[in-house]
């Protein structure tokens, strides 16, 4: 895992940037997806209305979350589904383990669930001697490479097809040097077919849980969630408490937004509804909090829970595109991850709200209108107040604020060779200044505007 190194976003991003052609490739790949999103969005004249509607539905959900969750639970139980509640990642993982243990199952197939990444379920189950195979192609690739996903929708977007060929050659026996995506996909398909047919347990994520009916919906392009769930005797569905939508009719709003925002497709290939178990099989839903109710209690940050995990904020983010998902050292990378992660561990993720220029593109592609960049700004204030900012930065900022609060100090600083900016981090012209590594300093003019203006005024008199 990249976060095992204890390195911060700027350090990891600097390493990523050592290979500039690779940065260009990563940036262009994600920008291409952003453009696909634009094409799809512009085909719908009602796009902005859809975003607003989705946002309001989710606001309503967050304001009445406990009611909807209880309604969902009651309806799910009525449908013959077994419902579990997990306060945190540990409880979630233990419930999964117990369900498998009761049935003597030691191999499970999984379909993409970012929640289980957040809970580090794979590592936990491995320690308990249970083998988990991720069945989404991208997820399987990073699993074979022993890496975490770098993107919530496109988990192996950081890998080139030649590298995937090497991984498949090593693990799945494809020909050496084979990098044709069609052949590689077929290799994975054959390998996964055996997995689907032999696993007795399947775990999936949940995209939407409908309070009105107690059913849940999973969106995939590969159909692998269905394949796993239909062939297994137990289907475990893990969902965060925020996945609720009130009624079935609301689903259309979200399905129209989700993949257009995520990959630039009009809709996912499979939007599968799960309501009641087939005879002889069981469906278990684990409803997970893991810090979400704390976030719900933070007024400035609660609406981050509106997120439907489309990844559009990552594709559009110039910092994400040029630093790679692993630089964020958390399960959910990019702008949305940077406002979610500090809630879980403020010290560990104190760097993430600063990994942004506050350009605001994220908030404006977001299909549920989360004010991501405003929350990044607000997290910065919280992190500094809680004392997770470097002491050197605090000293510099205090000195700068002191100078800029006094017209006299400001002016005399200017006269001394534009020294007014001596505490501004970009204004020291030496090799230690990070600005200077790739950029020249602005040239200091003979006189400031203020000085010019005084002379002009005197001249006029």
């Amino acid at each position: 895992m990249s976060n095992a190194t204890g390195k911060s976003h700027p350090q990891l991003a600097a390493v990523f940037n050592q290979d500039e052609p690779r940065v260009d490739w990563h940036d262009e790949t994600l920008w291409w997806i952003r453009q696909k999103r634009d094409v799809q969005a512009h085909k719908l004249p009602e796009w902005e209305l859809l975003r607003e509607t989705a946002s309001q539905i989710k606001n309503n959900v967050l304001s009445n979350l406990s009611t909807y969750l209880e309604q969902f639970e009651a309806n799910a139980i009525n449908n013959g589904v077994i419902v579990h509640w997990a306060a945190d990642a540990k409880e979630h993982n233990q419930i999964v383990h117990q369900l498998l243990q009761e049935r003597g199952i030691n191999r499970m197939v999984k379909s993409k669930s970012m929640l289980t990444e957040e809970c580090h379920l794979n590592e936990y189950l491995k320690e308990q001697g249970i083998d988990v195979i991720d069945s989404d192609l991208g997820e399987r690739i990073v699993q074979l490479a022993n890496e975490p996903p770098s993107h919530i929708v496109l988990p192996c977007i950081h890998k080139k097809k030649e590298e995937i060929g090497d991984i498949f050659h090593e693990h799945l026996g494809s020909a050496k040097g084979e990098s044709d995506p069609k052949i590689l996909t077929e290799t994975a398909r054959q390998h996964l077919r055996e997995v689907f047919l032999t696993r007795r347990a399947a775990l999936t994520g949940v995209n939407f849980a409908i309070a009105e009916t107690g059913e849940f919906v999973i969106c995939t392009n590969e159909g692998n969630a269905d394949m796993g769930a239909h062939l297994a005797e137990i289907h475990i569905a893990s969902m965060g408490i925020e996945k609720i939508i009130p009624e079935r009719k609301h689903l259309g709003v979200f399905l129209r937004l989700l993949t257009r925002s995520a990959t630039g497709q009009p809709i996912t290939t499979y939007s599968s509804h799960y309501k009641k178990p087939q005879e002889g099989t069981a469906i278990h839903i684990i409803i997970v909090d893991n810090g979400r109710s704390i976030q719900l209690g933070r007024e400035d940050f609660r609406n981050s829970l509106k997120c439907i995990r489309c990844g559009a904020c990552m594709n559009t983010c110039p910092v994400y595109r040029k630093s790679g998902g692993h630089s964020y050292h958390t399960a959910v990378a990019g702008p949305i991850g940077s406002i979610l992660a500090p809630n879980l561990d403020m010290k560990k993720y104190a760097d993430l709200p600063f990994a942004s220029t506050l350009c605001g593109s994220c908030s404006n592609v977001c299909p549920v209108k989360i004010d991501i960049h405003d929350q990044l700004y607000k997290w910065r204030q919280v992190i500094v107040k809680e004392g997770y900012s470097p002491a050197s930065k605090t000293i510099a900022m205090k000195a700068m604020a002191f100078t800029l609060s006094s017209p006299g100090l400001y002016r005399s600083g200017g006269k001394m060779g534009r020294l007014v900016f001596k505490y501004a981090p970009f204004a020291v012209n030496n090799g230690l200044n990070p600005w200077y590594k790739h950029r020249e300093m602005p040239k200091a003019p003979e006189e400031s505007f203020g000085e010019w203006y005084s002379k002009r005024k005197e001249g006029k008199q």
Binding site: W31, V319, L358, C359, A401, S405, P442, P445
Partner: protein
């Protein structure tokens, strides 16, 4: 109409020409411009770094300097946005609220308030227009590419009035330049790469000048252009609009 000129600290210290052009341009358009001489900084460098609680001094100074004008005009979208969103003063909150409503970025002031329809400027060069993020997505002086909404651009509308000027198209019309205040040093690698790529887009499309309604972006891109020993120059939009036949 009594207008106060708000010259951001780094413009005052490093780019006085842009402020001079703003002043001259407004005067040419018949505006009575005042320059409150005890102004310093809007406080954004501290606030965006997480130290908004240290900006009380800057805020109070700002309120003292800029109260009582019809409009406050600034040649920087970013600083204007900061005042609009974050100017508070516990003792003088009413005045702070009033200022927040009266502060305008230069191009939006020219289009929305003065309703400028023609200019006597001349600038016979190929120019790339960089949309600063705070002007674009914060003040909405242009339409951003993220939204499904009609296109417009106040800076481009003004540049179209300039004789001889040719605006070059860009591959990415509103990607960020990577300055981001302290971001430019904290995230040096990503920031520089973003700046490099933005500059490259303008150069590829034949721009001789890169202009913007925000000097912080231009300062960043100028740093990169000068390191590359490029002939391409940066110029604030006010300097172009104020540029006449020589």
């Amino acid at each position: 109409m009594k207008v106060a000129l708000f010259v951001p600290c780094y413009v005052d210290q490093f780019y006085p020409k842009a402020a001079i052009a703003t002043l001259e341009l407004l005067e040419k358009l018949g505006v009575e411009v005042h320059y409150p001489k005890n102004q310093t900084c809007c406080g954004q460098p501290m606030a965006n770094s997480g130290y908004e609680h240290l900006t009380a001094g800057c805020n109070s100074l700002f309120v003292d300097n800029f109260s009582g004008y019809d409009y406050i005009v600034c040649p920087s979208g970013s600083c204007t946005l900061h005042i609009k969103e974050h100017l508070h003063s516990p003792e003088k909150e009413e005045q702070a609220v009033d200022i927040r409503k009266r502060v305008y970025e230069l191009t939006e002031f020219l289009i929305d308030v003065l309703q400028v329809k023609e200019l006597k400027s001349h600038f016979p060069y190929k120019v790339g227009l960089h949309q600063s993020c705070h002007g674009l997505r914060g003040l909405r002086i242009s339409q951003m590419s993220e939204l499904v909404a009609p296109a417009f651009s106040k800076p481009a509308q003004l540049l179209d009035m300039v004789q001889g000027l040719e605006l070059v198209p860009l591959s990415r019309q509103d990607d960020c330049c990577g300055f981001g205040g302290t971001f430019c040093v904290v995230e040096e690698a990503v920031s520089s790469k973003m700046g490099k790529d933005r500059v490259e887009d303008h150069i590829e499309h034949g721009a001789q000048y890169i202009t913007s309604a925000d000097l912080s972006c231009l300062m960043h891109m100028e740093g990169i252009l000068r390191r590359q020993k490029s002939d391409v120059k940066v110029i604030h939009v006010a300097e172009i609009l104020n540029h006449s036949h020589e």
